[in-house]
């Protein structure tokens, strides 16, 4: 079984500053630590329908003083896991973020555009990202994946290359499905 460390994203992904990736990894680690001991767990990745089991390690040695909101933990932790999957497991080397009303949206590219590329947000793979700490009657992993596909349709990106990536931290499992 493969063994990974969440911090491998730092070596594979460019775009956001390293500090930015580390903070998101802290959120994911805080979420994982709630359900798993010793900063490691056997995780299931279901990538385009194929199951891949692995051991995932993470760093828990940091202050959790500001990591208090469950909603932020699920959201930011979900982003960290999506960055890990896209870069370490699927070889996308670059992510570009842009500002929207209540957060940020994410576009991945296989290679980083040149610094002088003026149309640097072209030919991207758009990803809808989400995280769930634990499932409830109204909040399930399968339901969330369905919702994210719906969001892509509503957002007018049904005909563009896009995916959804959702992580359930309690199990743990990360599912990536291609929308188109």
């Amino acid at each position: 079984m493969d063994e990974f460390n969440l911090n491998q994203t730092l070596n594979f992904l460019s775009g956001p500053p390293k500090e930015h990736i580390i903070v998101h990894n802290y959120w994911a680690a805080t979420a994982f630590d709630r359900y798993h001991k010793d900063s490691k767990a056997e995780i299931e990745f279901i990538l385009h329908g194929e199951l891949r089991k692995a051991i995932l390690n993470w760093d828990s040695n940091f202050s959790k003083a500001t990591m208090k909101e469950d909603k932020d933990m699920a959201n930011h932790g979900g982003v960290a896991m999506a960055w890990f999957v896209m870069s370490v497991l699927l070889n996308y080397k670059y992510v570009e973020q842009t500002e929207i009303g209540d957060g940020v949206d994410y576009r991945f590219l296989k290679t980083e555009p040149n610094d002088d590329d003026l149309n640097f947000l072209n030919d991207y793979h758009y990803v809808e990202i989400s995280g769930i700490l634990e499932e409830s009657r109204t909040n399930t992993l399968i339901g969330r994946i369905k919702d994210k596909h719906q969001q892509i349709i509503r957002g007018g990106k049904r005909d563009e290359p896009s995916s959804v990536i959702v992580t359930l931290f309690s199990k743990p499992i990360t599912i990536k499905e291609i929308h188109k």
């Binding site: 956001p16 929207i100 940020v104 003026l118 969001q151």
Partner: protein, 441 residues
């Protein structure tokens, strides 16, 4: 110019601003957002005359619009919003820019720092919001709802929410009986949901409670108050009240708490409420209507207390002018005094006793709601069928209500083509009376 690098730097400042907000350092966040907005504006302006560089142009213009709003620079934000609305072909970006425009207009008279704080506060509140829609039960005035309807919903919703919060805080803080009155006043201050969005058609509103740490508030109180609306919505408001749910509720809350939490909800969600309440799932935005609370659930959930005249009680509000005179003596003068009397209670009945007709036995006990106030007397209603009867005397009122309900049943027996409401009422009647058609014979 290398727009990619400048854009990345802007996003870095924006990230730092968000971190500062998470640490509740709002002044620091404002500084970072200003730097981010300055850089992103440069990038967006660079693309103004480059229509061939889509989709980058539209995405960056949107980013600059929101970055400027987050920095409280609404005039600059408007420049990018208008440009985007005129030139972008992307429907999603257009709709996001329309939302941004609404916010930019509402922030217009504030200083940049105040506007930035306001925008970021409302954004965070919106992330914690529950989204409701109130629709009229019949379309006499189209889909419009009246102010009275909104008042009814908000009054009862607030009563229920506050009772829920009181119970949760009491458990959390182990409040002793002596301090309950002071504690109730504190709850009034802490639990005060804010409207974070509203729209016509029918009437949509989003609400959330404050989440900021105010002076003297402990961490556990802040955590609870921040999430109280969502918790209330999930645990109470949309609870389907199955037998198992009711059992769990009765195990988790005292009898008084159950009454305080659910009695106002039965008004919002009963069959005779003149409006329907729906809510939107925050992930998929699907609309679901809150299930009605039928009499049987109400009977299992709420306790019925026998009442006396003393229970009806007397409320008196007075305005008194107090004045200290020489020698330390205090004089008091009553300027205004008003006595108010009101009470609400239920009674269980197992048969109807209409005037001049034999009693009609019911298959099951039902709860009649009685609302008393000193102006109108007693108002009788039954939650499953929209009927009300009022009289200044209790006994006359009760007989009057029986008679009204009896004639309603007869009218339903006679109506062959029933409309939606009549069909619902008929289903209730069939449940209560074995063979309602026999009443005609």
């Amino acid at each position: 110019m290398k727009p990619k690098l400048i854009h990345q730097q802007a996003m870095e400042y924006s990230f730092k601003a968000k971190q500062a907000i998470e640490e509740e350092k709002y002044g620091v966040a404002f500084g970072f957002y200003k730097q981010a907005a300055e850089l992103e504006s440069q990038v967006a302006e660079f693309y103004f005359d480059k229509p061939e560089l889509e989709p980058t142009r539209s995405v960056v213009v949107r980013s600059a619009a929101f970055m400027n709003l987050k920095a409280g620079l609404y005039e600059k934000a408007q420049k990018f919003i208008f440009f985007g609305l005129l030139y972008t072909k992307d429907d999603l970006i257009k709709s996001q820019l329309n939302d941004a425009l609404e916010l930019a207009v509402s922030l217009k008279n504030l200083t940049p720092e105040a506007a930035s704080g306001e925008f970021n506060y409302i954004n965070l509140l919106r992330q914690r919001s529950v989204h409701y829609i109130i629709e009229p039960a019949n379309f006499h005035f189209g889909h419009s709802v009246s102010l009275a309807t909104i008042r009814d919903f908000s009054e009862n919703y607030l009563k229920s929410l506050k009772a829920f919060a009181k119970s949760k805080f009491k458990k959390l803080l182990n409040v002793e009986a002596d301090f309950e009155e002071i504690f109730a006043k504190e709850i009034d201050k802490l639990i005060n949901p804010l409207v974070t969005n509203s729209a016509y058609g029918s009437f949509k509103l989003s609400i959330a409670n404050d989440f900021q740490t105010r002076e003297g508030e402990e961490k556990k109180i802040v955590e609870l108050k921040s999430n109280v609306v969502i918790k209330f919505h999930n645990e109470i408001f949309i609870n389907p009240l199955s037998d198992v749910d009711i059992k769990q509720i009765k195990e988790s809350y005292t009898e008084d708490e159950v009454n305080e939490i659910f009695r106002p909800l039965t008004k919002i969600k009963s069959n005779n409420t003149p409006y329907k309440v729906g809510y939107y799932d925050s992930e998929n935005l699907n609309k679901t209507y809150a299930t009605r609370i039928i009499n049987k659930q109400r009977e299992k959930l709420l306790s019925v207390k026998a009442i006396s005249q003393q229970d009806i009680g007397e409320l008196e509000s007075s305005i008194i002018h107090k004045r200290s005179v020489q020698g330390g003596k205090v004089t008091k003068k009553t300027i205004f005094k008003e006595q108010l009397r009101s009470y609400e209670f239920d009674i269980k009945i197992h048969q109807l006793e209409p005037k001049d007709v034999s009693p009609v036995l019911l298959n099951e006990e039902i709860l009649l709601s009685i609302y008393f106030n000193s102006e109108n007397g007693f108002k009788f209603s039954f939650a499953d069928i929209p009927l009300e009867y009022a009289d200044t005397e209790y006994d006359k009122g009760l007989i009057g209500f029986y008679t009204l309900l009896y004639h309603k049943i007869l009218s339903l027996v006679d109506t062959k083509d029933k409309n939606e409401q009549e069909f619902r009422d008929w289903e209730v009647v069939k449940r209560l009376i074995g063979n309602p058609n026999a009443l005609r014979k």
